[in-house]
Symmetry: C2
Subunit: 308 residues, 2 copies
């Protein structure tokens, strides 16, 4: 099965209470793609970078089985750059710099050979571009997931509403779900979002876990309690990548299987935050992922029957 990922491939500068990095690899498609690559499927990335982007990193992606034929390299231009600083609680951050660079004119062209992709993950880009991507597909993917952010709610809410009618699952954080609906209660927010189009909704709550909704069910997966969170950057995209990687591999769109996808996404995210940037996602062993999944089972498992 194939998963098409459209999003950013970029540079980040990050400061957390644990340290500081000036220029490392970042971007939503980077995290989604690397995370999904652990599920043994064909991962195809559409993005744009400047010619300052290291060929070595592209080779790292390819070494993980990620097809980068859809990553346009713009000659003489610079890659998207984001810089942010996390506060002590790691749940809030300030954006220090956003240099759009090549992203300002990004016009995602889906290569011919990607247009039959079985699954599609639309990273957080302009809703108009998300629509353009869907329109280029030669057949509808089995499942289309999308991310978005407050910025698009502020400047292009109609576009966002339109693309939401075209996708199966929205993956956002709690703050975004609240802004999108004007509801503080996530249960109420979820109902409103499902009325806007998607059949499924995932609300990510950072260190507080993630909620999966359809019209009739709610599932909650905690984040793994960790000794240290070094850098939360990309954790949400890593979650989405693990989720979509698992769904692409299993091709099962039942709510029960979506739950498993959420657990896999949570496990992958727990690795991501343990080092700066996507470093930890480059060399995970299958056994490490399996052990981590089992940590989740142990963390939430209980048996109501009292056997004394």
């Amino acid at each position: 099965m194939s998963l098409l990922v459209v999003g950013t491939v970029a540079f980040d500068a990050i400061e957390t209470p644990f340290g500081k990095v000036d220029k490392i690899i970042g971007g939503s498609a980077t995290y989604v793609g690397l995370s999904a690559s652990y599920y043994g499927q064909e991962i195809r990335v559409v993005s744009v970078v400047g010619d300052d982007f290291p060929q070595e990193t592209i080779k790292d992606f390819n070494a993980r089985g990620i097809d980068t034929a859809g990553v346009q390299v713009m000659k003489g231009e610079k890659s998207f750059f984001w810089s942010g600083k996390y506060h002590h609680d790691m749940n809030s951050r300030d954006t220090l710099v956003t240099d759009l660079n090549v992203l300002a004119d990004f016009d995602p062209k889906i290569p011919e050979e990607y247009r039959n992709s079985d699954f599609l993950m639309l990273g957080n880009i302009d809703p108009e571009l998300q629509i353009k991507v869907i329109d280029q597909m030669e057949r509808r993917p089995h499942l289309i997931a999308m991310d978005t952010m407050n910025f698009w709610m502020d400047i292009n809410l109609p576009g966002l509403h339109k693309v939401m009618t075209m996708v199966d699952i929205l993956i956002v954080n709690d703050e975004e779900a609240r802004q999108l609906t004007g509801e503080y209660s996530l249960v109420k927010a979820a109902r409103k979002i499902l009325d806007m189009g998607p059949r499924f909704l995932i609300i990510k709550k950072g260190e507080h876990g993630a909620l999966l909704f359809d019209r009739d069910h709610i599932f909650f997966a905690p984040a793994l309690p960790l000794e240290e969170v070094f850098d939360p950057t990309g954790a949400g995209d890593t979650f989405a990548g693990g989720f979509m990687g698992y769904i692409t591999k299993t091709r099962n769109l039942s709510f029960d299987n979506m739950k498993r996808g959420v657990i896999h996404g949570s496990a992958m995210a727990s690795f991501c935050v343990s080092k700066f940037g996507p470093e930890r996602l480059l060399d995970l062993k299958d056994m490490e992922i399996e052990d981590r999944i089992n940590d989740f089972v142990d963390l939430v498992h209980f048996d109501l029957d009292l056997a004394e």
Copy 2:
């Protein structure tokens, strides 16, 4: 089995984004006692009130099977009064008024017939008083649980450390666990707290659920995602009451049974927040509690095996 609860019985005035009440029944022993009363055990309360406290409420407690012989009534004095205002997110609040009144000279006297209680829950009072309570027991209870708050860490940390060596389980919120240990990571904080004495630790995270720790295990229970949280006051004590009520009923101190206790506590807390004050805890049906417990099972249950 019998559960002795020592804590406050008081008046609260509460303002939330959903409304305002000027004077309702509150206090830690009120919430713990009412919540624990659903587990069919002997619940005994030691507290102090002024003669302004309504006899009717005492009768409500008795009607729920709660023994109030240990509630001292101080003639001509006023009951403890707390007033607070919740912010929009319901996770933070400002204390507006704290009138200690009778609480200022509270000296818990454990009635003779309470001194053989099988289980003991020490609500959030001065650590010196918590020690005094334990010292009055004629035999050590099977399990002693205690709550505390930042205030005691500020003014009597040595006393707090001492009582912590005398109890089995500490039940605090995330902020308190962090202040007590100076660790932001709850995993690190838990390790330090277990080094201070208790064998078990529960960290309550409000709408984000609760964590149970011993030296070798972590268990996480979410809070039920609710349409509305009208008033979080007492939710933590209601959690503790459900937990201790369940443990008192089952008399099983294994980690697996503690997990069930945490689920019961979470279920009881989810009822508490749906109305102002302890109102919802006065007339719950067993079937409602059972249904709520099953909601928790549904919320977190997943099966890793893919059965297509």
